[in-house]
Amino acid sequence: MTVYPDQKGRYGAFGGRFVPETLMVALEELTQAYETISNEEDFQQQLQKELTDYSGRPTPITYAERISKRIGGANIYLKREDLNHTGAHKMNNAIGQALLAKRMGKTKIIAETGAGQHGVAAATAAARFGLSCKVFMGEEDMKRQALNVFRIELLGAEVIPVKSGSKTLKDATNEAIRYWVANVEDTFYLIGSVVGPHPYPKIVRDFQTVIGKESKQQFQAQYGKLPDEVFACVGGGSNAIGMFHPFLEDDVKLVGVEAAGKGLHTEEHAATLTKGTKGVLHGSLMYLLQDENGQIVEPHSISAGLDYPGIGPEHAHLFETGRVQYEAASDADALEAVQTLAQEEGILPALESAHALKKAFDRAEQLPSSASILVCLSGRGDKDVHTIQSYLGGE
């Protein structure tokens, strides 16, 4: 099997480095620094130690017994990334990149955030490692996620309101890149998902593969085999790639679940692979939601973490090769799965993760009880309580 990315940062046709000349040297430096540092044993030891002592890894696999019994099909297991420090898989990457920044001698980090989860993770890692941190956040998102804005500030980071474009995640990312272009000499850009120019999709993937690696070991140890199918939600795609990547060469079916928003027949969704076309955004060739003139279209999802008009280049590649199957779950599907998991297992999942849960529940019905499905429960739902309340209250 070919190893991706190649020298040019390509995953098949996707990925690459579509950025202004000003950033080319910084990206090359980052590529080389990452290559060197990630191969140093004491870096890996320090990372391991932080993931264990600080973030609380390994996260367990929980058997969703009551749901599995009720469905009466495949058994459903949950990889509990919600039990990470700060409540989601985002922390794996934030710790990794912050440590990398520190070893590269950078003292300032910047990050983009949509709902604020990556902003919180970046601010947390910055506090832990004594780095200054600016978080770019769209003004629209700041209104919707006022509590996370306050959380980020409590952690000692600065939130920079983004007033350009649609004032959401895509614009926060634009603005973070613009800031980086102006301050590239002393600033480290800590990207939150497997997007952006090479080497970011690789760096973020590498720091997130701890999810899949642990899962394989744990599942093997607990059940003496690998799961038959693995489900994960996909926005930019970092938890999914982290979960899928270690399984790519195994005989395991992999399913990524995008956000169908208000429905694939409407224009309000974030189903980039299901409905999108190839294009370049934020420095990478991927699938995008765009109009016929190549202007980026604003996505919609009930879950802010899936509300991104693009998708990581490696997912685009895995979609084209057919190795991973991509489906889409709607806002209503996600709300239903949140309630099911809360009421039947006592776990309140993030709305993002609930997209994967819904598709896994549906699939379990079609499989025999000898089969097993592992779902990446990428985050906890505490951050979504207000959103869920307003949706359910409005019904």
Binding site: F18, P20, E21, L23, A26, K170, V181, N293
Partner: protein
């Protein structure tokens, strides 16, 4: 791939003045008039900015202009039409199509070079298509006799020669880090940087990013072969957009822009 004998894009190689406009702000018709006026006022080439939803390299002035143009549905096709119209009306200076890569990609790379050629475009400038990614597009453009303008940035260091060796038309030298937009002063290091780029460049070197005053134009004309002025012109158009949007007052709006342009370059 170097072309054997190629006509230079620009017909002089010092004190170049290359303005940039966002096509369709405030309207396609006004843009055409502005381009004609710029040519009459002594522009050596004009960059036609294709409005884009996510202009990564641009500051707030050009972002605002692009979003006004997009609100009116301006597309790459319209930009080509504007080019064709002004050429038909006698504008004979080179036109540079300035577009982010995604609109070009959606139009189709082969289709755009053919259509651009037909419309009278002379060169392309794609700010998010660095040399490493531009090989295919460049050879398509070259096959039609169109130039690809390359950018060189203060962070390019060891890449300078790599870029200048392949440069066509002119080198767009990015004066300072950051996005487009007016700057009140420049780091002295910029002159050394210009010197270094000029040493290896076989085409004129024009400085852009932040230039907005007569003093700055003079300064850069002393050190480099030309200046590229974007945000300052786009902002002047913005300030005059009420006048420009009304048929009865359009002429006085154009006069204001002309006065600003002349204040930048006339001796």
């Amino acid at each position: 791939m170097k072309q054997a004998v190629k006509q230079p894009l620009l017909n002089k190689s010092s004190e170049l003045f290359i303005p940039y406009v966002v096509v369709g702000d405030p309207s396609l018709e006004v843009t055409e008039r502005v381009i004609e006026m710029l040519a009459e006022s002594g522009a050596d080439a004009v960059e036609l900015g294709v409005p884009y939803s996510d202009p990564l390299a641009d500051g707030p002035v050009i972002q605002r202009a692009a979003s006004r143009a997009l609100d009116q549905g301006v597309s790459l096709k319209d930009v080509l039409q504007v080019a064709a119209n002004v050429k038909k009306r006698g504008v004979d200076i080179p036109l540079v199509l300035f577009s982010y890569y995604n609109p070009v990609l959606q139009f189709g790379e082969e289709a755009i070079v053919q259509e651009a050629k037909r419309a009278g475009i002379d060169a392309f400038l794609i700010p998010d298509l660095p040399l490493e990614e531009s090989e295919e597009f460049t050879s398509l453009a070259q096959a039609q006799g169109l130039s690809m303008i390359s950018l060189v940035a203060p962070t390019s260091h060891d890449r300078i020669e790599y870029i200048t060796k392949r440069a066509e038309g002119f080198v767009y030298l990015v004066s300072s880090l950051g996005v487009t937009g007016e700057r009140s002063n420049y780091n002295e290091e910029v002159y050394q940087f210009i010197e270094r780029v000029k040493q290896t460049s076989t085409v004129p070197v024009a400085v852009g990013f932040g230039i907005s005053s007569r003093e700055q134009v003079d300064q850069f004309w002393q050190h480099a072969d030309g200046v590229i002025i974007g945000s300052a012109i786009v902002r002047t158009i913005e300030e005059n957009r009420q006048l420009l949007s009304n048929e009865n007052t359009m002429e006085s709006g154009l006069k204001n822009i002309k006065a600003f342009v002349e204040s930048l370059i006339s001796s």
